[in-house]
């Protein structure tokens, strides 16, 4: 199991304006959602985890290795990140080659890379499209190519930057099941998200960022119970949570099934 320790992390592009201030977090095996308003420092934070940026003060340790002392390329085998826009990375003429690029870079053999790439493409539902040109695919399919190209690297940590953008219901479900699958295989999943219903459905832990600090951190149910605190960060609890709160329930419900089975369990029938 991958291990990430963040200690007193501070970062700023300019010295006078810190983007992140004194963040200490340790990641366990739970799938973790990072939520917060734009500009709260979420993307900067994951770039620091990935070693793309180096801390101004404090440390990030990936499996005990300080990111200050590692190059991005050398960290790439341990920690993968799916960027928001698939067009920022696609450059090969064939889907399979695109997905094999990362695995080959981190030292897998041709055969191994191909095996991982095919497995990753199956996972994202792109079986049979291996020989297509990525640019002939739709944007949501290209997103899946981008996800597969990170999954194929088989890293212990996988970071997603707003994976559900412009996805329809089916796309969201596929991404949700990928996240669950990674979790089951013992990978650490961290995702930046704006879709609270999606967070409620798929993530065990939620961290709320506001103005460069961690405002809330805990189990997802526990975090979404703190409505006032969320509103202070310009966030709203998931729709189901809002409805149940308005009905006067003390328990926090995260999904429709969650609530329906509770009501039915209490002997309700129509």
């Amino acid at each position: 199991m991958a291990d990430i320790q963040v200690k007193e992390l501070t970062f700023g592009y300019a010295e006078s304006k810190p983007v992140l201030q004194g963040i200490s977090l340790s990641f366990d095996g739970r799938s973790t959602a990072i939520i917060g308003q734009n500009g709260a420092g979420k993307t900067t934070f994951v770039k620091l985890l990935k070693g793309l940026l180096k801390p101004t003060a404090g440390d990030v340790l990936i499996d005990g290795q300080n990111t200050r002392e590692a190059t991005v390329a050398s960290l790439a085998g341990r920690i993968g990140m799916v960027f928001q826009n698939p067009n920022d990375q696609i450059f090969k003429n064939k889907v399979l080659d695109e997905v094999m690029f990362g695995p080959l870079n981190i030292g897998m053999s041709e055969g191994e890379a191909k095996e991982h790439a095919e497995a990753a493409l199956a996972l994202v539902g792109l079986c049979g499209l291996e020989q297509e040109n990525p640019y002939d695919l739709s944007l949501s399919e290209r997103k899946m190519v981008a996800i597969a190209s990170i999954l194929a690297m088989d890293t212990g940590v996988v970071i997603f930057d707003e994976p559900t953008i412009a996805q329809d219901w089916r796309g969201r479900r596929t991404i949700g099941s990928i996240i669950r699958g990674l979790r089951e295989r013992g990978k650490l999943v961290i995702a930046i998200l704006h879709d609270m219903d999606f967070v409620a459905e798929y993530f065990e832990r939620t961290v709320v960022f506001a103005k460069g600090r961690v405002l809330l951190d805990g189990g997802t149910r526990e975090v979404f119970a703190k409505e006032e605190c969320l509103r202070a960060a310009y966030l709203e609890p998931p729709h189901v949570t809002q409805l149940c709160k308005s009905l006067g329930y003390n328990e926090v419900f995260l999904t429709a099934e969650d609530f329906v089975s509770h009501v039915k369990g209490n002997g309700f029938t129509v």
Binding site: Q37, N38, A166, W169, H194, V240, L243, V263
Partner: protein
């Protein structure tokens, strides 16, 4: 006469075999708020582009049928003229910034300069648009320095200032954070209250249910149904069309809570609250 009338619209993109729109017909009245839903590839964006003439003027391909906006035929009117009647806002706020203007105020003027409006008229319209979208405080800022939500509201202001009677929004909030989306939804609702006809493509079903007068469900280039949100979100074929109903409707479906008179499921928080409050009371007594 209907404000927007689409008659047997068919369209196929160049170099493709399948129709992106197959025989679409519908009408929309003045001041209606229409939600357009469906899975990716259903034809929603294609329809939006046909309504404002980008199809067939920008994208060629095979076109059949008619789109009438306030009696004017979209395919036969130059886009630069049609834009006085129908405006469109796209998903990506960034690519809608002209890039040639240094302030929000001048950015909004871009379309008005193209229309050749006198200066006083421009100033009046820009001030009005800034106020409607609640971005007066940003008027001297550089367009590229804005947040996504602010940039998208600026894009809407740029369209509003041209005073079209119809505004089409193609997933305007998909790239925004929750606060940014809420800002955009509130602004759009305000426009609708001013009598502007709104057609909005959106994946956030709770918002569609809350704001729309009628909802158009599309799949495979066709309109599956076009009716009230309650009717559409109670359809059995919804999942087959790749659409998940609002969370509130999911709960009421799970519990079989239909409206006694209409037989339809609640779609908004308020409606669901009302329906669930009754059973909660009932359960407590029983």
């Amino acid at each position: 006469m209907a404000h927007i009338a689409v008659q047997h619209l068919k369209y196929r993109y160049p170099l493709t075999d399948e129709l992106a729109l197959r025989d679409i017909s519908f009408t929309v009245g003045e001041g209606e708020f229409i939600g357009i839903i469906g899975q990716n590839g259903a034809g929603k964006s294609t329809l939006c582009q046909a309504l404002c003439g980008i199809i067939p003027s920008f994208y060629k391909g095979a076109y059949g049928g008619k789109v009438l906006i306030d009696g004017e035929e979209a395919a036969k009117t130059p886009v630069a003229e049609l834009c006085r009647k129908v405006g469109i806002v796209f998903q990506n706020p960034f690519s809608q910034v002209t890039g040639s203007k240094l302030t929000v105020y001048e950015e909004i003027a871009f379309g008005l300069e193209n229309l050749g409006l006198p200066r006083e008229e421009m100033v009046r319209r820009i001030d009005h648009a800034l106020e409607l979208l609640d971005i007066q405080a940003l008027r001297e800022q550089n367009p590229f320095d804005l947040s996504g939500g602010q940039m998208q509201r600026m894009a809407i202001a740029g369209i509003i200032a041209m005073e079209p009677q119809v505004i089409i929004l193609d997933e305007p909030t998909s790239q925004l954070d929750p606060q940014g989306s809420e800002e955009v939804f509130r602004a759009v609702q305000k426009l609708c209250l001013q009598g502007i006809t709104i057609l909005m493509v959106e994946h956030k079903m709770e918002k569609i249910a809350a704001y729309s007068d009628r909802v158009m469900l599309m799949d495979k280039g066709e309109i599956v149904d076009f009716d009230t949100p309650q009717k559409i979100f109670s359809l059995d074929c919804l999942e087959a069309c790749g659409v998940q109903p609002p969370a509130f409707t999911q709960i009421c479906r799970g519990l079989g809570l239909r409206n006694g008179d209409t037989g339809l499921y609640p779609v908004t928080l308020e409606e669901a609250h009302k329906a669930l409050d009754q059973i909660k009371g009932g359960a407590a007594h029983g």
